[in-house]
Amino acid sequence: MEQGATMSLFWITAILLIGAIIPVLTEKFGRTINTLATMLAPAIALAYVISLLPAVLAGEVIVEYLEWIPSAGLTLSMHLDGLALMFALLILGIGLLIILYARYYLSEKEAVGRFFSYLILFMTAMLSIVLANNVLQLWMAWEVTSISSFLLISFWSSKSESRKGARMALTVTGAGGLALLAGLLIIANIVGSYELSTILASGDLIREHSLYSVALILVLLGAFTKSAQFPFHFWLPHAMAAPTPVSAYLHSATMVKAGIFLLARLYPVLSGTEMWFLIVSLTGLITLLIGAYVALFKHDLKGLLAYSTISHLGLIVLLLGLNTQLAAVAALFHIMNHAVFKASLFMAAGIIDHEAGTRDMRKLGGLWRFMPYTATLAMVAAASMAGVPLFNGFLSKEMFLAETLHSSALGFLSWMIPVLATLAGVFAVAYSMRFIHDVFFNGEPKDLPKTPHEPPRYMKIPIEILVTLCLLVGIFPEFMIGGLLQAAASSVLMTDLPYYSLAIWHGFNLPLLMSAIAITGGLLIYAYRSHLYRFQAQFHESDEKRVFEGVMQQLVKLATKAHDTLNNGSLQRYIAAMLLFTIGVTAFPMIHLESAKTHFPDQPLSGIEITAAFILCLSAIATVIYHRKRMVALITLSVVGLIVSIAFARFSAPDLALTQLAVEVVTVILLMLALYFLPQKTPAESSPSRVVRDVGIAAAIGGLVATINYAFITQPIDTISEFFLANSKTGGGGTNAVNVILVDFRGLDTLGEILVLGIAGLGIFNLLARVRLAMPSSNENGLPWTQDRHPPILAVISQSLLPLALLVSFYIFLRGHNMPGGGFIAGLITSVALIQQYIAHGVDWVKPRLKIEYQTLIALGVLIATLTGIGSWFFDRPFMTTWFDYFDIPYIGEIELASALIFDLGVYLTVIGSSLLILASLGKLTSAHRPTAEE
């Protein structure tokens, strides 16, 4: 392996991704130009892949890396080995033919550009799967194929069957994709790497791991759903609702092969165990038989081909499950052959549908007269599908039959494999025969919508190319694909290849006899098919679509029921559930928490603390007891708040005490105002059991919080605050470390904080604008609210206190940097002083006297704070670097000026603006000056 110097492999996907946009852009230039432009990107990619062909055939593996998020260890990585090369050629080559075909298949009225875009997107995803050298990358591409195939299948979205078919395909392959992800993660975890090349080199490690069986089943689920293996095969026939080019591409050559690609890719690590052989071979065998049998009874051309595809996919899976190396070679050979003949058959079916107006074989017949050329092409492809000598299908089928003879995958019952394989071969011949005979011969067409004729010249080209390949590979196998097969096989087996010969003639042997039996038997069965049809008609044909929709609806119903039970609209119920969960996850580890033992004894108590704690707990409990009398609860609540601020003061946090006190005042005024508009009492409505439940939850949470709190405050302290204390004066220019942290060290946090405050204020303003609130005329006892206006004594006192209060707040603001205080506290004090004017005089009185727009104040505050931060850019410093210096001013003395003071001014203004906007807007509701949206 070598690391490529250029990123050429990445260019393949990049070019295709660009190519996915081109069709939409070129749609307006007419269909021919559109088609040619669409083909450009795949053609370039194909040319590039072909240029790498010699190197890869010589045994080289091209590996390339692209650093994506190196810090997280994520690297995009791609590789091109024999297997990837084989698939890339199929995807790009058949893709190009499909584009050409689709140009004639789709009518002018349809959104051809969109269709081509989806198609190229799908092609990109498929290529990304085969080129991926990282399992996560592979999985991502895998999911994109599911999604883009959903878009393609539902292209005719006006048809119900298209939508249902697409949904079914997406559900099944999507669910499989999730299983695959889990499986890949397990494998990557075992190996310790997401790189495919590392994983592929660790086969023994994975196979011997205890999680091997889990990983295997998950990966197989992904592969089997994608490749339509029994019992997940049902989605494929319904995906035939897609336009035929899509069926020809996705459901013959590419998407369904992705699952098989995955099996082949992981063959070196996952295969080789009893479990692999048993599951894979049995699944393949059952799918092979069911597909071949059911295909015979499908009257729809595409239905027949769909089941035939299922059957052939089963055949390939069975080969991968047989425990011989040659079987894997045969599997790869058949992947190519099947892609070639099945794509051409689908295209032929599309032509018939297009030119005759139906795909129903009960109506079709005798088309040979109308389209002999198409018929010839279809016959060659069908012969290849049936395994007739001289066509490519015969060779791989012969290899398959030979391998079934050598297999011991089913132990003593292994003899069943060749017998059942021959049986499947019989049916394959029969349905191939039917495809040709029922359509092109067998009487006259019956009430066709239009008279059939040959398709346009260029529509046949893709089929001609593929059919020629069928013949050339069938006659000169070694020359045509010998090298490619060898390269692919060596990257799957990762050992020296066993001897095999790609000759047509191996002499008279058992496989040849089995082929002969299959052909004779198939012709016989076809001749006497009416008996089988009669037999089959006795069965009630179940419609997978209805079953699937039924299951889906049941699931939805179940989910709805679960949702409705959990989500009944009771917020309290959600909180209770969350709290119970919290209790669960917190309590359990705490049982084992040994390190939480006390490290130092309690500090001694004094009378003050005991008294304060007593009042605090009493008020808190009183608030709960009287919570239905809302006014009383509010009063006891304010007592709690007061004690909390005293506690802050007691425990050496003067800033906090001041803030808490001011906030307390504002909060209580706010709640009292709100109470005016809310019911004054809460009716008793909690059931006794509910009370018990809630008390239980509350007590448990309280106990847990207290325990955690105790656990950490008795631990030795290990804090980063030493830095702040050491640099507060020298770096921030202030002695009040708390304030310096707020406006300097953690200034960005504070900026965010005042933004939140401002947003809350504006949000409240909006909530209250145009609110249609009831204005209660009496209290809950029916007593009318007093008509008294504002008491004069309060008015006089508060008015004379206002200058003093403003002065105090100014002082607190200025000294904040060095002593307890600062913008937050000063802002709150100013707010309280102004609110007092509202209370004492009423909104009518304040409004003409205080002409400040509070919204503007908020904006101004945030602006000042932000600009202060930006200011430091002009001095080539990072955002929010503060500056300070000492000045000697005559008569006043030396003072310190810091840019942090301007920042604090912004905080100050925002706090005033927000708190007043909140309270004034609410207060105005009681008066005629109700805020409106215009204000």
């Binding site: 500090q603 509010l634 609540l637 906090l656």
Partner: protein, 121 residues
């Protein structure tokens, strides 16, 4: 002291949680207020309980941890903004929905919307 402190925090938490579990907006608002006291005290105490050393440089030998104090200070202010928002929201809800019930289905005796009557006010 530490024991008493955490008992107070626990009681406040319990009372706050219990009130939040009531089905009416005002009880929830009161409960949230109480809960925010508890949370603030809880966070504040991560700097340990220090009786005499405010974090003012030059005033004492050792200092209380200033970082939890600074964080708690903003938490108090933000807490106020949150309470204000919730209480206004509950008023708005009552105005638009006609009741102050937040526990899912509406009980029979809920406080019905009272028609505005500005003349008497």
């Amino acid at each position: 002291m530490e024991t008493l402190y955490v008992i107070c925090v626990g009681v406040l938490t319990s009372c706050g949680v219990y009130l939040c579990l009531r089905g009416r907006t005002f009880s929830v608002v009161v409960g949230l207020t109480m809960l925010s006291y508890a949370v603030n005290l809880f966070l504040f105490s991560s700097g340990r309980l220090n009786l005499k050393d405010a974090a003012i440089l030059g005033m004492s030998e050792s200092y209380a941890d200033p970082l939890p104090q600074a964080l708690t200070l903003t938490a108090i202010v933000i807490g106020f903004a949150m309470i204000a928002f919730v209480v206004i929201l509950s008023m708005r809800a009552r105005a638009d929905l006609g009741n102050d019930f937040v526990d899912g289905s509406e009980p029979a005796d809920s406080n019905k919307f009272i028609k505005p009557n500005r003349d008497k006010a």
